[in-house]
């Protein structure tokens, strides 16, 4: 890929990932954040975080299933944007919703399973964001770095569970996110089994007389 195409792609991702924030800002200016702005903003930020996180998790499955290799240049950017939205989502909850009422927040984290898993997803994303630089990849070594970054899948699962558990009866939206995540994991699972079988055959072939 030419460096020009790469830059264009990245600019497009920046614009697309900042758009939800811009939309919130615009609605705030028009005093159009519903009668319950804090809930609305928390929901929007959380949903955007989950959407971008799933996009970042789609990069490898896209290569496996569709042979697309260019999305890899966007993965780090997508991951960092997902993290940024998760942090904003958390900050609105902590600062605006609970006004840093620590006992109340701690009680929520311990006693409300959907908050527990949401918080766990946030915590898991911290080391990933911290090790996102080229220097950290080099320091950790590619193998260990890749192993660590499998946590992104765990965070994705917890984030979907967080959404499933907080949604009220009849709300079907989280199921679509669960289905999307399931599909992405299935592609990776299928790929893993395929290469495991290939390795087994290769070993078998070498062992044959």
């Amino acid at each position: 890929m030419s460096s020009r195409a790469r830059i264009a792609l990245k600019v497009a991702v920046w614009v697309a990932c900042l758009a939800p924030l811009g939309h919130l800002g615009l609605r705030a200016l028009q005093d159009d954040l519903t009668a319950n702005p804090i809930d609305y903003i928390t929901d929007r930020l959380g949903k955007t975080a989950l959407q971008i996180l799933l996009l970042s998790l789609a990069v490898t499955p896209l290569r496996i299933a569709a042979g697309l290799s260019w999305p890899i240049v966007l993965r780090r950017l997508l991951g960092l944007f997902a993290f940024a939205y998760v942090v904003l989502h958390f900050l609105v909850w902590a600062l605006v919703d609970h006004f840093l009422n620590w006992p109340q927040m701690l009680e929520d984290i311990v006693k409300r399973p959907y908050v527990t898993v949401g918080m766990a997803a946030l915590v898991m994303l911290i080391p990933l964001a911290a090790t996102s630089t080229a220097r950290m990849i080099k320091r950790l070594g590619g193998r260990r770095w890749r192993l660590l970054h499998r946590l992104a899948y765990a965070a994705g699962i917890l984030a979907v569970v967080h959404f499933l558990w907080l949604a009220k009866q009849g709300v079907t939206e989280p199921y679509y996110y669960a289905a999307a995540l399931g599909l992405l994991m299935a592609v990776r699972g299928w790929d893993w089994m395929r290469s495991a079988r290939r390795r087994a055959t290769a070993v078998g072939a070498r062992g044959a007389p």
Partner: protein
């Protein structure tokens, strides 16, 4: 029983008088437009459409000074644009979005079961059954937000007395209209329907007879907007909002505790009583605090939504953790 007394409540305390007038003029204008459109579109096909009550039509009521609050009422716009009414859809802006689909005339309410005078009331007769009062109640949603609303109606007990329940009537059951054409939320989607229809709610007889339980026809000086449960609903201010059934078509007097919709859907989350209680958490979130719509900081939720003085006696000796 003790009912709080206070000075008379004036409309001017609820909304600045100028804003009130402006809104009335605005609503009247809108109503005029709505009538123009609906009559223009439907007059040939259906003469009954002309009898439809225009949205925002004024509803006369005498303020009842015994039921007022010190808290500022929630703006009309928020009351009518943010609420749960699953018949219209799952999101809180769905009721206002789809409200125009609901036709509230002709409308009848069937009152049946263990009563001496079972009958089917026309809505016009129900409107005249007892004098209309304006009462300012706070409404606490089970989702931990709340509003203050000037409702218009009369005590549910007036209707109950009129139909003369027999000794076998232990509970009152309320059913909401089923009509997927008017209520898009009742149409079956990919995952089926969100809830079991008809939406069914219920009260114990003594709860239903309590002077706070209001058979409600209007708010903010006008007929109920469709999204708020037109043409009639109940309002039970010491219970979570979902206990107050909307757009009622049937009221039944029964012996057994009615199986209510949310209780059937998620029994561990929504009990039959569902009294506002800061000490009993919803399994998924705390009920200790609430966000009053329009306010920034959460407030502490009060026992029985602040109506403990009036209603606590109804539950003497009951374990409210068990009967949530």
């Amino acid at each position: 029983m003790h009912v709080r007394r206070g000075g008379g409540i004036k409309s001017s305390e609820i909304t600045p008088y100028g804003a009130y007038l402006d809104r009335r003029r605005f609503m009247a204008g809108l109503a005029g437009m709505a009538v123009g459109i609906s009559v223009g579109a439907q007059l040939d096909a259906d003469p009954a459409a002309a009898a439809e009550v225009p949205a925002g039509a004024p509803l006369k009521a005498t303020p009842n000074p015994a039921f007022k609050l010190d808290d500022k009422p929630t703006p009309f716009k928020d009351v009518t644009s943010y609420n749960n009414f699953y018949e219209f859809g799952l999101d809180k802006d769905d009721p206002a979005k789809h409200a125009h689909l609901l036709k509230t005339r002709p409308w009848t309410v069937q009152v049946e079961g263990h009563v001496k005078k079972a009958r089917t009331y026309d809505i016009e007769d129900l409107l005249k059954l007892a004098p209309m009062e304006e009462r300012v109640y706070s409404l606490r949603c089970v989702e931990a937000w709340s509003m203050v609303i000037p409702w218009i109606g009369y005590p549910l007990s007036a209707l109950i007395k009129a139909v003369e329940p027999t000794g076998q009537a232990k509970y009152v059951e309320f059913q909401t209209l089923v009509n997927p054409e008017m209520f898009p939320g009742q149409r079956k989607g990919f995952f089926g329907s969100s809830l079991d229809w008809p939406y069914t709610e219920g009260l114990r007889m003594d709860e239903a007879m309590h002077p706070l339980a209001l058979l409600t026809f209007g708010l903010y000086g006008q007929v109920l907007p469709n999204q708020n449960g037109a043409p009639l609903r109940i309002v039970v201010p010491w219970k979570y909002g979902f206990k107050s059934g909307k757009s009622l078509v049937k009221i039944r007097f029964v012996t057994e505790e009615p199986r209510t919709t949310w209780n059937k859907s998620a029994p561990q989350e929504y009990g039959f009583y569902s009294n506002v209680n800061p000490e009993v958490s919803h399994p998924r979130w705390s009920q200790a605090t609430e966000r009053r719509i329009g306010e920034f900081r959460r407030r502490e939720t009060k026992m029985f939504n602040g109506y403990a003085d009036q209603v606590a006696a109804l539950y003497t000796g009951m374990d409210l953790k068990k009967f949530y």
